[in-house]
């Protein structure tokens, strides 16, 4: 069988070969102010609150520590809702431990905007304005949704988002992450309704997909063969694929929903210089290269410093929701989604 172009992209050999919006530009090495580095080293520590997966964040910490070994980064990880509850409670009691707060739901970060310090990275002008929701919050991480499947059990893989409504895959072959799980999934379901059509949810729900609480267990289920395919965050699929797991993926030709994070420095940070150095490094080309190369993320930088793996700019277009709608439509649309998919709430 002759593989289509997109299927070819899905193979591991093609990872890292294609560019994003335009040609990748030369990366600018991160050269922080020596005074900031000295001050951060003097503080010697940093507490990061994150809604990202532990292993992914630990990888980022390891990369950061290659350049700045004198700063010990401690992490507190919780799911989106639990993290916000903790931050609000600690802050109200004057005991917020976090120096940096990292959240996938920009709406949630924005709702506690007053807890963040004023901050802008040295390369602030390089970031796409449509990914910014507050002068205090920055997209250190930008995960993207792809379509993934297990090639051991799928002989005719999906080639587009619309294929995930194909009756051929009905009867529990498709896995789906529940819409209320967080900011990344909310972005995807907005994309489905706004870009793929008002009736997309109805069509897909008709295939009786199996529902999962988040992308990571869905990815595991695809690898095990519990379900055959599903929309999953590329950052989760990418590492498994690199390790040799039976999983392939493509970016949908109708668009690639992305979720720029809302990350910022806590106003009450006990290690403000280490926090600033962490943010500067994460948002620099060096930090974004690590996120793209090691984790399969995209970047919110206007021009990516390196090509984005599996992303063909001639075919794939990034999609990010309009922030006003991201907040305004949330409750009503989630309610619709829950009803359409028969998800208990």
């Amino acid at each position: 069988m002759k593989l289509s172009r997109r299927q070819s992209i899905a193979s591991l050999a093609s990872l890292g070969l294609v560019a994003r919006f335009g040609p990748a530009r030369a990366a600018k090495p991160f050269t922080p102010d020596p005074a900031l580095v000295a001050a951060a080293n003097k503080e010697g520590a940093l507490v990061l609150y994150t809604a990202s997966l532990t292993e992914v964040v630990q990888e980022t910490i390891n990369n950061f520590n290659k350049s700045f070994p004198g700063i010990r980064v401690s992490m507190v990880r919780a799911s989106g809702g639990q993290l916000i509850t903790r931050v609000r409670s600690e802050a109200a009691a004057g005991k917020l431990e976090a120096d940096v707060i990292d959240h996938s739901d920009r709406g949630q970060s924005k709702s506690i905007e007053e807890l963040f310090a004023d901050y802008a990275p040295p390369n602030a002008a390089d970031y796409m304005t449509e990914t910014l929701v507050s002068p205090k919050l920055w997209p250190t991480t930008t995960p993207a949704w792809c379509i993934a499947w297990n090639p051991e059990i799928v002989s005719n893989p999906p080639k587009s988002w619309m294929d995930l409504c194909n009756p051929e895959y009905a009867g529990g072959k498709i896995g789906q992450v529940i819409a209320p799980s967080g900011g990344t999934t909310w972005t995807r379901v907005m994309f489905e309704r706004q870009v793929l059509g008002e009736d997309y949810w109805v069509k897909q729900a008709a295939t009786k997909p199996k529902l999962f609480p988040s992308s990571a267990p869905l990815c595991d289920a695809v690898i095990r063969g519990e379900v055959a395919m599903g929309p999953i965050l590329m950052s989760i699929v990418y590492g498994k694929k690199k390790d040799g797991a039976p999983i392939d993926m493509i970016y949908g030709p109708e668009g690639v929903p992305i979720t720029p994070y809302g990350t910022g420095i806590a106003a009450s940070a006990k290690h403000p210089n280490a926090a600033r150095l962490w943010m500067d490094w994460n948002l620099s080309d060096d930090g974004q290269i690590a996120a793209i190369r090691d984790q399969g993320n995209v970047t919110a930088l206007r021009n990516p410093p390196i090509p984005t793996p599996a992303f063909d700019p001639k075919v794939n277009k990034l999609w990010t929701p309009e922030f006003g709608q991201f907040q305004k439509l949330h409750d009503a649309w989630l309610d619709d989604w829950n009803k359409t998919y028969g998800y208990r709430q």
């Binding site: 292993e55 809702g81 903790r86 095990r224």
Partner: protein
């Protein structure tokens, strides 16, 4: 009356008068401690359920109290369905657990079945396995699509197909995993039971079966009911098993429902608190029922007379009980352990066919290497051990104090103490975790962010389990033993130290061991109280699971099982040493 006698007569009442306040002060102290540990967080939970705000952030607005959250959840058919599913799954699981646990205890303690030591040790292994991992292990074995058992049966041409993503599947897994709870209670009671009661029945011509039914089991009824109640309420609060086995079939239980409410963005804690209150009502009813059943009866089986437990000679039938025990161990220990080993050592859990299952190239240490590369792994192990020890010691002492006061003293307010102690059993960990955070975040002396706050939460959360485990032992000690010590001039503390504690030592050790295990496994309250420096194993395990890495999750679980196994072996030896040193048993 001479002068000396007269002065003595005056002095004794005076001394009594002086000390009359002591029991009241003691009860007051216990109630104060329990108020901090239990009532205050529970009040925060109730405030949460009656408002729509975070009390720490928005403060207390008692004028805004309403039953809106309750109306929302009560009128939501999904809550009713989750409640019904919970009752069916946990009720069915309890029946399975009692059947297995009680039989198992009887076989180990009261019969001459061979290999009893092995059976007893191996049978406790499920207790070390976090529920999340139990769910994962059984999904590997019993998934309708990729389950190893189905694959092996198909290969062997056996018309057998198992689907654990069902209600019977959850009942089965709940039952086999919580049978050790029933075993722990009933085995301790059987060990402490004077066999002369059974001998009397036998001499009177009763058959072995009739003796068991009319003497043995009725005498250990408190232990059976305690074990039954504990396993039921623990199951009610378990998230891992229904999350893994129920979710694929869209079977929602109250815990998975509550977890979803707390994890959604934005979280719905106030609604979760209202659901938790419903769960509290159900559990409260069960506790009331237990007390109603046990009230007004005497279950004293340890008196001042020396005895040596005599195993029942089963003759050739002992090989049948051995075979049954082996089948139980195969199902409960061997099969899930094999599944965990496969998951921990196999690169990926996609198993194309049977030859692929045995392909050595698919196996390696990669998950262990990755796991130990993460510095949080070691940190979490060290922290968990520390917090486990603190919890076991502090909780053990407090539980003994409460258990003694409630079951053996006439201190005022002991009934109140008993009721307060029982409250946490009814509150799911995921919700009480937030209540602890709300309640204790403002406590001075830098408590928040330390291992101590975790330990206090565990002590409070598992106080009912620990006190129940201890009370069962305490209830079996006849009052005449203490009275003998008092007559000999010992004070209350002296009597406790020389009589009660040595006799209850197996129960104390068992309760502290249980507390240690529960503390190591506890996820719900850890999630909100751990800080950057106090990561614990349960949170780290959830992190690995939520990261979709079943391999590392299984590897980490194996490490946890080995650590707990070592600990249990040590405490078993201590407990046996205690038994040997017991004055009753040595006569």
């Amino acid at each position: 009356m001479d002068a000396q006698a007269q002065s003595l007569a005056v002095a004794v009442p005076n001394r009594h008068a002086e000390r009359r306040w002591l029991p009241a002060a003691w009860s007051g102290l216990l109630i104060a401690v329990l108020s901090f540990l239990v009532l205050y967080p529970t009040a925060m939970l109730l405030i949460g359920a009656l408002t729509t705000t975070n009390p720490v952030v928005e403060g207390y607005h008692f004028a805004d109290l309403s039953i809106g959250n309750f109306l929302t959840v009560v009128t939501n058919p999904n809550v009713g369905s989750a409640l019904a599913n919970s009752l069916i799954a946990c009720g069915g699981g309890t029946i399975v657990a009692v059947t297995i646990g009680l039989s198992f205890a009887w076989v180990v303690v009261r019969t001459n079945t061979p290999c009893k030591g092995l059976i007893a040790s191996a049978g406790m292994l499920p207790l070390f396995v976090p529920p999340l991992v139990a769910g994962v292990a059984w999904s590997i074995l019993g998934s309708p699509k990729t389950g190893l058992l189905n694959m092996l049966a198909a290969k062997a041409g056996i018309p057998f197909h198992i689907d654990l993503y069902t209600m019977p599947g959850m009942i089965f897994v709940f039952g086999i995993y919580y049978a050790p709870y029933v075993y722990m209670f009933t085995a301790a009671a059987l060990r402490n039971m004077d066999p002369s009661l059974e001998e009397a029945a036998e001499i009177s011509g009763a058959s072995a079966a009739r003796t068991i039914a009319t003497v043995t089991f009725p005498l250990i009824l408190p232990a059976i009911i305690s074990g039954m109640l504990l396993s039921f309420v623990v199951m009610l609060g378990i998230y891992g098993v229904p999350a893994v086995l129920g979710s694929p079939a869209n079977l929602s239980l109250l815990t998975t429902y509550i977890f979803a409410l707390t994890a959604w963005s934005p979280p719905l804690y106030n609604t979760a608190a209202a659901v938790a209150v419903i769960l509290m009502v159900v559990t409260g009813f069960m506790v009331w029922l237990q007390q109603k059943v046990l009230s007004g009866r005497s279950y004293t089986t340890v008196a001042g007379k020396a005895f040596r437990p005599r195993p029942l000679n089963l003759g050739a039938w002992r090989f049948l009980t051995l075979a049954m025990a082996m089948v139980y161990l195969l199902v409960v220990v061997v099969l899930p352990s094999i599944a965990l080993f496969i998951a921990a050592f196999r690169k990926f859990l996609f198993i194309r066919d049977i030859p692929s299952l045995f392909d050595a190239k698919q196996y390696g240490w990669q998950h262990f290497i990755k796991m130990f590369d993460n510095p949080l792994t070691i940190t979490s192990i060290i922290n968990s051990m520390k917090v486990g020890v603190i919890t076991a010691v502090v909780g053990g002492i407090l539980a003994f104090a409460i258990g003694y006061t409630v079951t053996r003293s006439r201190a005022p307010g002991r009934r109140t103490i008993d009721v307060i102690t029982t409250i946490p059993v009814a509150i799911p960990g995921l919700v009480i975790g937030v209540a602890y955070l709300w309640a204790w975040i403002g406590v001075p002396f830098g408590l928040y962010g330390t291992l101590w706050i975790l330990a206090l939460a565990f002590v409070a959360r598992f106080m009912p389990d620990t006190v129940k485990a201890l009370s069962t032992s305490l209830m079996q000690i006849h009052r005449e033993l203490e009275e003998a010590a008092w007559i000999c001039g010992r004070g209350t503390l002296g009597t406790i130290g020389s009589i009660v504690l040595p006799l209850a030592r197996p129960g104390v050790v068992a309760a502290m061991t249980l507390l240690f295990i529960l503390a190591i496994r506890e996820l719900g309250s850890s999630l909100f109280l751990y800080s950057s420096g106090t990561m614990v194993m349960a949170v780290q395990l959830l992190g690995y699971y939520e990261g979709g890495n079943i391999g590392i999750t299984a590897a980490f679980s194996l490490v946890q099982m080995v650590l707990l196994g070592v600990l249990i072996t040590v405490t078993n030896r201590l407990s046996r040493g205690a038994n040997r040193a017991s004055p009753i048993r040595t006569g």
